[in-house]
Symmetry: D2
Subunit: 474 residues, 4 copies
């Protein structure tokens, strides 16, 4: 997962700090590495590194990046690729037409094949990142296309998968969303300054007004002539926005494709209240992503909502860290139960999802220790049963508890009195009233794009070829 | 403010990581600097530095501190003294009877006089910290007392103010609470291991069961002979626990003197609902400390509770940072409003307190921008009108908005439709049913101990004498 | 300037530390950045950064790079390109046949044109370094050649300039010297382990015996089948070894093309004694590079050699640092005079060269302050009058004092009683008895290869195109 | 060993950079840690840390220390105490009369007893350093003496051992040398600015003229009233300057007590030529400290001096590093032989001393490998047979090769053809013509002060009491 951000100012100004605030607001989408690139009269300066935004950037670095007319930023998380400075984005490249910088959210499903084709033309790749691959494809297309946007459009015929991009050439800021719109991308504006961002909360952070979502397949080009839209890849009818954006990734204060994420989650809680009514004393949400659905459940069921957990604010998001040992060590200090809310009570505990079942089991144990009389666990997502090929890092199938166990077996395994999942038919509740198709591949196994049959094998081959340890080195 | 933590194990074990988890859980009490000292057979090793717990400590440092029988830790915040490695605690000292390490939460009101007395005996002070002063006093008393606990007891006759201490000699762990019990200190136990901590949430973090609060004036000594209590300074009747511990400092999942902090805050919200009824559509709590009282207000008033704000989890607590510029820059990315909860509605916004009025004004503006129709601001603390001499960093009087303005003037100033404060007579609601006296000096100006008339002047003199810049140097 | 080092071991062993010692011994050739790449069964791990060898590498990093069969290293200095981690070598690239790492000493004179040709094929360049350019050229040739060594040989037809290379493919270590042999490269051996290095002093550092110099134009390939030599580019007759290698770059304990560098320098001193006899009391050498020639002058003239200067050993080489301000500040603490050797005496002071005249003027002033009666300055190099295009960073013509002034004018300018330079006809004294042609372009303006007329303009265009600030960013 | 430096300017100016240059020039006396303290109107700012001068200080730190009227600095090496930031000097203390900072070169022989006496008065010690002990003693004396210089003078009655001090009170710079003058201390002057330094080379580094040596027992006080000398402890007749200052510690360009160090060493070489004549072809000096004596030997014997060794300039002094493993690893890359100077020749190799015999054995092996026909090793110091209690870190007796073996046995052990030492009766050659008594305790076992019989036992007791690991912690 990643967050992308771009800004175009008709007059030269301190864009590095704009992007800094933007990626700060998007950091929940990826906290492993981050970067900012600033374009000042065609010369691109960048800084990027492994670490949180406020560790990677300080006043001095932002001052050094300095002023410009265009700037982009990125924050990143990946389970597959170890975070290194070399992998961090934005990816800046020099080619015969000048410099280009690019940041991406998503994942290609034809990366190994595309990389092979480019290598046959002599291309060198320094990483396995899709962003380097996309940049190289665009540079190749640039040689036979009259403009950067024409090159982007030509390259899109060769890219398969999920990709929301912001990129800049010496004089243009370009935003791109893949033809199925797997990942969000929005446009904002403030006093003539155009802003592109993964989520609307980043527009709020820089004081820009939300204008509209970028359409699936759309290319927006912002340059001294203003903003224009290229719609060659816009199909109009089709959509495949990742359902997990509403359930987990996006921030509740963001509006994605017309739906406030907080309300989407509340509606999932309400659906759970209808499909899984429980006789209980209090509804608790597991922070942070379970809170919204718990409020929805409470509102619909009439059972009081309670503050059941305190989360240590100095520790990052469990799901978003990629070191298993670290996860184990930190769980005991991450969450604590407010005993007075729980002791002697029948508790409904709502979480955003149940993946491996280990975290939920630990929370159930905490509730028992605090004296809960009954514990009913509800997941505002359906069971995870399949891998995602479009940028969500889901554990391998053998680790997914729902692949192996039925809900009542899960309840026994984790020590709960009952376990319930959102029903598949209720997933679209989250966009109630919004004619939006969602990608539910991880629940249903049915994907909006055909997955190449040997994709995993090709990826492993490339990883071996590029050197298992390359990524850890510099 | 500070958090203190101590652990005594009858068998040598890896206590550094125990303390690590303990101070991690207490970090809301002070995130500027932290430290751990481990006592292995009378030899004390320590590590401390400016920074968050997980920046200061890593696996390697914890491994190097290694095993021991006794260990203590500390996390610290101070507005008055610039954070430096030299100021960080625990304070380890070598004296004629061996080594001693000490960590403190609180503030002395006779520090300048006591320091002067000791300097007349040739003592050298490397900092202005009260912890060095207390350590020096104890070392002096140790020369004429037969044991470390006797020295501590003798020293207490010379200390005036608020102090909860954990300290260790070569063979003993000692916990101390001042005779009025300004600051909390609790005792826990797990499999024969004794634990001392500022709050019970730190006991939970290390899996220890809560045993009891240390009494005001009590000295507990834990050594190979077990735990015993010295009650020479226990007066029994009197208490002066800082009211702000419930309102702001302590974590909602902690139980302080028998009262769950979350419930204390809810009761303050309920009291507000009774004293300040408002005709509104939704009750919002300002995260994090305003949430509990908002739930109490909603429950008592019948007006629905709503999730109104998303706090960027990657940024620290406003009140706890001590750099004004930093505060300004970060406020815009720290909080965002969930517009769907607010647009067109009459909103009650509950916060823990109103100090200078600048933060609340910015939040009111955010709500207006999000379309709130009416905004009613309620503070779950009475107006701040006076300085605190016992360890709470309150802005100087000229910066306190309530010193200058009445609530309706404040409402106009911050752009709210109305502003209300908890009534003085409702402060004790927080410990309803608990016969506890609270220190409410910052609200009432009436302090449990007489403040030396020239205290501020003496402090400034000492700061000048010790060198304005000393603290920044190494 | 750079130093390169490579090692091939028939059995897997800890090659990272071998290379560490090797580049440590070569650090006088470039102290701005350094790097090591280790090839373990075809997987290349590397670490490189700006800084001295012992700052960039520690035990942990060396352990992490671990064991392998092949490894290469590099240390680097450049006045033209700001040192950055991205510019540091070895350059590791991934291409369709696997990984390749490369380190280079030298400079291409057709870089802009070659880069342009490759960009027209879609190549992306991340830096302006010649090493990336050479790597890309080889990767392109690899697509149509049956082996890496054939690709290297084919690439050599496209490279013009000075280059001594070490490179490794998954299974081979390859050493290359350009057809004119501008820069040195030697082969060593220890117990079946083959070593390549810029100078023989690095062989000594790893306990390897000197085998021979790599010939100009030669490609040596070392793989499981042993060592073999490709001589397609060996012309036999021609040589253009940089004369400044003997005068300044190489270490006195190195043997370059059969001549011990210390003896070469002594012979220059002897030539000076014959061409510039002076009636004086003592001969002093300016450390470090002037010592050898001073001994040669003393021996031939019969005037006693004296230890006149103490160099602060904690400061690097003046010439090798590229920050003008830093140079100014440090000169006063870098050298000091031993007054007892100088007071009241007529002094001959021998230095390796006189470039801008500022350093020598400061040393003359130090000698005057110490009481020298007469000061005669002799340079063991002829006057610098022309730029170098083959890897030596010489100041621009307007800064070269000999371009503007005659020796007696220089003497007046720097406050000396006389100034003398090595005569052009004596330059070959340094390789007396060795039938070696030297490149003396910086003295004579006559270069062994034709310099493209617009080279400087093309370089500036590329620097602009790649972004003036790119190099400072990450 | 240590270097100390102090400067007093009648007008406020940038003294931090003056001290920076001063301790840079003294860094050969101690390269483990360093520090600077600046006194600006009575407020002392300081910065100190483990590391080389140019690692600890950069422009930013020097700017932050800023301007002042008085400043002192220190560089330090100790084998006994692990280098830590806490141990680094200058030691700054706050006491009832204000601030004081102090830097020391030397060692006390009554430290454990003095420390015990002060602890009985309640003093806390944070380290085992003599500088903290001296500072505490002075602070105690300050309580009953009318001025800082009177307190220093009173304290001197309680200090036994070697100590050259620079210290500053709010308004005074004070220099002190112990009554026997074990360690050097000189006074310089430049435009009304007074400078104190361990060696005259540091005066040269800041452009100050040498004025005179501080006399043994003398206290110089520099304040707005000018410079005055207190001579209460000056005995006049007695001297005990450490002989090893000339042989090894001091820089050849320094003048110590009227003798240029380079000339002192040359005289030792001349004495060796007379006492140990050898029939050989070339005289080589082991860099750096053996060069001077080799020149003296060559001059007196008529055997030509040759440059036999190249020392890698990027590595520190063997003797001065205190990590045995580090020493082993680095020796092979530290020195290399210039083979053309050695092959087939009979070589005399002069070194400053032979301590454990391991380093000299490795150098002899290098010479053999380079083809030396005969190798005669000469030490310009007599055999080390005894510990030093006055600040020189000598290996323990069991490690001293001369304690166990006679010269001819040493020759066999190290692989030399012969080994010779300076004769005891020739030690005073170094100060020929100068009526100076030297401390030769390490050679003779006869010390200028009586060593307390239980000193080693008391030191070990204190080390245990203060915690073996304390020094590694913070």
């Amino acid at each position: 997962m990643s967050g992308v951000f771009g800004v175009y100012s008709p007059t030269r100004s301190n864009l590095a700090s704009e992007v800094y605030y933007g990626i700060y607001a998007l950091q929940h989408r990826g906290q492993e590495s981050c970067g900012i690139a600033v374009n000042d009269g065609g010369v691109i300066s960048s800084h990027k590194d492994v670490g949180l935004v406020d560790a990677v950037f300080d006043r001095e670095v932002l001052a050094r990046l300095g002023d410009g007319e265009i700037a982009i930023g990125h924050c990143h998380y990946s389970k597959r690729v170890t975070a290194t400075r070399a992998n961090a984005q934005p990816m800046t490249v020099n080619h015969i037409k000048g410099q280009m910088a690019l940041a991406m959210n998503g994942a290609l499903i034809n990366a190994p094949r595309l990389r092979h084709e480019l290598e046959l033309l002599g291309s060198i790749f320094h990483s396995l990142s899709d962003s380097e691959l996309i940049a190289t494809t665009i540079v190749h297309e640039r040689l036979r296309n009259p403009s950067i946007e024409a090159a982007v459009s030509a390259a899109m015929y060769r890219l398969e998968g999920a990709y929301s991009l912001v990129l800049m050439s010496p004089r243009k800021l370009i935003g791109v969303r893949d033809p199925l719109g797997f990942r969000p991308l929005v446009l904002g504006e403030r006093d003539g300054v155009h802003v592109l961002a993964s989520e609307s909360c980043a527009l709020d952070a820089v004081g820009a007004a939300f204008v509209r979502d970028i359409e699936p397949g759309e290319i927006v080009v912002i340059d001294p002539g203003g903003l224009r839209s290229l719609r060659e890849h816009v199909t109009g009818g089709r959509h495949a926005l990742c359902a997990f954006e509403y359930i987990y990734f996006a921030r509740p204060d963001s509006v994605v494709e017309g739906t406030q994420v907080h309300e989407a989650r509340k509606r999932l809680g309400a659906a759970l209240a209808r499909s899984h009514p429980v006789d209980a004393d209090v509804v608790l949400g597991v922070p942070d992503s379970g809170i919204d659905a718990a409020l929805g459940y409470a509102e619909t069921s009439g059972i009081p909502y309670g503050l059941g957990f305190i989360k240590n604010k100095y520790i990052g998001r469990t799901f978003i860290r990629n070191d298993q040992r670290e996860r184990e060590d930190r769980v005991r200090i991450k969450l604590n139960v407010i005993e007075s809310q729980v002791r002697g009570r029948r508790v409904i505990m709502v979480d955003d999802s149940i993946v491996r079942g280990t975290t939920v089991a630990r929370i159930v144990r905490l509730l028992r220790l605090a004296g809960a009389r009954e514990i009913h666990v509800l997941s505002s997502a359906p069971p995870f049963l399949n891998p995602c090929y479009f940028g969500t890092d889901i554990d391998s199938r053998e680790d997914l508890i729902s692949v192996r166990l039925e809900p009542d077996e899960i309840a026994r395994r984790i020590g709960a009195d009952s376990v319930g999942f959102l029903r598949h038919e209720d997933v679209n509740e989250m966009v109630a009233g919004c004619p939006l198709d969602l990608c539910k591949g991880c629940f249903s196994g049915c994907y909006p794009l055909a997955i190449p049959p040997n994709l995993d094998a090709l990826r492993i081959r490339d990883e071996r070829r590029f050197g298992a340890r390359l990524s850890q080195a510099n």
